[in-house]
Symmetry: C2
Subunit: 600 residues, 2 copies
């Protein structure tokens, strides 16, 4: 039907006849001549319709935006002064000989180049939204990125193996999406939250190196960067150490960024222990483009008269951190109020600060703050020394439970860093965070929970801590962050049944429960399971970063809203009573009553 | 941890030190020396453990089958007479210096090289089953095949785009798997039976060429070659004609077979109209390796005294076909009885036949059959002429409703062809079946149903038949069969809203229903939808054929049984009452009662 893509017709084709198919991006009449910008996935070409071919011209006159057209014509250079250097076909135009309307279009609900469309409108008319060059580019980038992952992994001897979508529900961590079984009344499949156990089984089965780019599902409350279904690049390997896995995965990410967007990532990636990341950045996915850092000051504040500081400094599990903002003494009252509100989102009950007006006077004369009078000289001295504060700086404080301080000051660090330009100018700052703890203590449930997941191996030298001091036991777990976003994470897995049982015990999972939920894994571990480990990357997140998109919904063809709905197809939706009956389920409550009435 | 894969150590490495990881495939003691066949995914290597290294030897003595080992040693040539030419490492052995047991194994429930294991045992211990070289090979073949599809499609400018897994239920055709929504009480997602509508939307959105290798779901009663979840290579393109699509897809399949198993498929593939395929082979996926053919004889049997033939010959929708078996006069009574029983599976109420003892005597003397006396000379003459029967042949007859005759004689043709060697000797016989009818008449529901699906375009010249004579309206639909199995099928789609509405009308889908179920497609068609079409291939089926496997379960890592269960993980299974409550559903009947009691 065509000889070229619109966006690929260039000066080399001048004088040749071409046939193009695409959409009328816009039409304009100028001096009795009709110009149509014809658009396809590769770009635009300018079609010139002269009135000297009356039949074709009549067709051109009827063309409106988004009509689907087929045109034949001759490529010629654009007249001087009309060249558009921004597009590949900007130096040429096509003198139209024939025009066929393949399909007309009603008037679209919005112009394709309209900016600031509401997201709801875009999702409702997703098909038109996807015609926008930005969305075309995003999905092509997503494709190139996935392809780059595959190419590297293929070349490195990894085998793509599909694991089941209809699997077993093991309620632990996030909520499962359930699928009622028709054949087995009262029983349910679950959609996988990740292929974790299956990929371990594949290692035990001897496949050695596995990958899969696959959908995973979590029925969670949706945040800006989450979807009920998301795509994971899932990787597992046998017979490699933690360091070897990290090294290979780092190569992979460098290759993918190079291949997909021609970006050069550093070699090697820096590595931070989890403890250091929390200490310096308050985050296990620190944005290393931001040059600001937190410092510890609690030890110097144990005996100050400022109660908030003293009580935290003397409590277990508390933290007092200081964040110096160079030149921050010039922050306005309004800015400081906004930051105070901002840290409130993370649970901080306030945001103490000191303006350093004159660093040579460590008292109320040189330091401006309501709290200075309640801090003794040694405390002020320590704060100024450790933060390296200069005259004109401002120091923010977080004093609370450790988690609150880290979340609040970690987020504040990133926000101020970008707002005020405390960044190092690098486009991409990857960082491995390693040496995660095995367990987090859940004070509500009063038990240890797995920091990664229950199949993560402890460090060899920490095996004995599993029972004696779980809180100090570190794991062979690693996360990769880029510019403050988590790209992925993984771990070396437990490959010995006895250690797996020990970890289940530490997590308070009894023998019977473990057997019921994970019996097939415990069983498989007994047959010479190899040392193995791996990791999973989030494709949606990676492409969002690469594209500089605001939301992962901009790199997914048909995403769900934050209310987990597809506005285009109107899913989820009601179903026939007959379907429910076949699945041996009924609706509860109000909805159920309506169905009952409908039946009666 | 290792320097090489076991299966890749060969004579070129003689004299070198290697480190290998793998599993003890078998261990034998011979003349005071221990031999361990070490296995990994690439094959076996023979490890020789001499007693002169007592520490290592003691370890070797403790090794049992399926222990996971790491060994270091020197490669040397095997002694003459012990070379195994069947494996890559068959000319060498490795003199073991060090041996480490990475993980011991309890005694496996079966030997890996045991044949004739029950499938239930294999699925229950799937991890061990997957260690068998045959299963390793099948899944590697599956991987290579999928990769070959991707490579061709990538190179041909197709873009891999993911479509949603949580989508809208449109009960039509097969049963949907449903997923209750937690956020929207009483509403459900459906798992996709195919990405059909989404790929059409992607064409309308201008992506031009799309593919995806993706899971699809059908909650159907399972036959030997079906799974609740199966993998489809889904393809769609804009601006290509039916013939161009067929041509490109044929190239794709040739490239994939060449790439994955080095097989040369014919070029071009033969094409048969649907009518001709049914006429000559009784099947829309004929096995062209079989040289037998059906012939039509009803027209000569309208006035015979054999009632079964005469009544079918004079009925509408009936067919009488003859199938000549060369040399078939020697078939035994028992064989003919078995065939008669066989066609019964397809609904045939009997299997009339004539043994041609002497083709020069077209009467009870030369033709042996209870029905000959009830067929007049002209009928017998026609039968012999059309079938080309020779002395010593046998002719089977099918006389019934067209569908029964096609199913029964079509299957019989294939069975006898392979059993008795009426095959052309070609390994691979692909064939396109084209010109499918638009509609099948469903006599029970008394309405037309879509032969492909409701989005298939009628032939341009048959548009007017949509309303006047739907039964004669042909579609731009095509199926690809290989050796009697359907590899895939597709069609050019309807790209004009008005024609789509006409087809919905012909199918008895009212305006309101169409809007409710497919409104988003009808809406999208109005915005300059391009001409488009595509197809989907079944990956499981293709790999099963390539591997010569008995069941698609042999090319799937973790398949479901024919009762739709995963024996390994015991899915589906019961779930917590809390989970059901969150999903706003409850169980029906007996199961429900138990839960209620449990709550009380």
């Amino acid at each position: 039907m065509r000889t070229h893509y619109c966006g690929q017709v260039d000066s080399q084709l001048i004088g040749q006849d071409v046939t193009l198919c695409g959409w009328a991006h816009r039409r304009r009449d100028h001096g009795g001549v009709i110009f149509v910008d014809l658009r396809d996935r590769e770009g635009l070409a300018q079609i010139v319709c002269d009135p000297d071919r009356p039949l074709m011209f009549k067709t051109a006159e009827s063309v409106r935006n988004e009509f689907c057209l087929r045109i034949a014509g001759k490529v010629r250079a654009r007249p001087e002064g009309t060249v558009n250097p921004n597009i590949a076909s900007g130096a040429i135009e096509i003198l139209c000989h024939e025009m066929e309307i393949l399909n007309p279009s009603v008037t679209p609900p919005f112009q394709l180049d309209e900016e600031n469309l509401s997201e709801n409108i875009r999702l409702l008319h997703r098909v038109l939204d996807l015609r926008r060059p930005q969305m075309q580019g995003n999905l092509q980038l997503r494709y190139r990125t996935a392809r780059a992952f595959r190419r590297f992994l293929d070349d490195a001897g990894f085998i793509d193996i599909e694991t089941p979508m209809l699997t077993k529900s093991t309620p632990e961590g996030a909520r499962d999406y359930l699928v009622p079984s028709r054949v087995h009344p009262g029983q349910f499949f679950a959609l996988p939250q990740s292929p974790q156990l299956f990929k371990q089984l594949l290692m035990i089965a001897g496949f050695d190196r596995y990958y899969q780019i696959t959908k995973c599902f979590r029925d969670e409350d949706l945040r800006a960067d989450r979807q009920p279904e998301f795509t994971q690049i899932d990787i597992e390997t046998s017979f490699m150490s933690e360091g070897e896995i990290i090294g290979l995965m780092e190569e992979l990410i460098r290759a993918v960024f190079k291949d997909a967007i021609a970006a050069d990532l550093p070699n090697p990636f820096p590595r931070l222990s989890h403890a250091e990341a929390m200490h310096r950045y308050g985050s296990d996915k620190p944005d290393l483009r931001v040059t600001l850092e937190l410092v510890e000051v609690a030890d110097a504040l144990k005996d100050v008269s400022f109660k908030v500081f003293a009580s935290v400094a003397n409590s277990e599990g508390g933290r007092i951190a200081a964040l110096r903002i160079p030149g921050g003494a010039s922050l306005t009252r309004g800015e400081i109020d906004a930051y105070t509100q901002f840290v409130g989102i993370y649970g901080a009950r306030g945001l103490a600060y000191i303006k350093v007006n004159d660093v040579t006077q460590l008292n109320e004369a040189g330091l401006q703050s309501p709290i200075v009078k309640n801090l003794h000289a040694r405390a002020l001295q320590t704060i100024v020394e450790r933060t390296g504060a200069q005259s004109g700086d401002l120091i923010f404080f977080g004093a609370d439970r450790c988690k609150v301080v880290n979340d609040a000051l970690g987020a504040l660090r990133t926000r101020i860093g970008h707002e005020k330009g405390f960044v190092n100018g690098h486009a991409w700052e990857p960082v491995w965070v390693v040496d995660f703890p095995m367990f987090d203590y859940d004070p509500e449930e009063k038990r240890w929970t797995a920091c990664h997941h229950p199949f993560t191996s402890p460090k060899d030298e920490h095996l004995s801590l599993l029972e004696s001091d779980p809180g100090r036991c570190l794991a062979k777990a690693y996360d990769l962050a880029l510019n403050g976003s988590e790209l992925g994470g993984g771990s070396v897995r437990i490959h010995r049944a006895a250690i797996q049982e020990q970890v289940f015990r530490a997590l308070g999972i009894g023998k019977e429960e473990a057997q019921l939920k994970f019996g097939f894994l415990l069983d498989a571990l007994k047959y010479g399971a190899p040392p193995h480990g791996g990791l999973a990357f989030g494709l949606d997140r990676i492409v969002t970063l690469m594209a500089g998109a605001e939301s992962i919904r901009d790199v997914i063809a048909f995403p769900k809203t934050q209310r987990a709905q597809c506005l285009l197809t109107d899913a989820p939706s009601g179903v026939d009573e007959k379907q429910l009956r076949e699945l041996h389920i009924r609706l509860r409550q109000r909805v159920e009553t309506q169905v009952e009435i409908g039946k009666g």
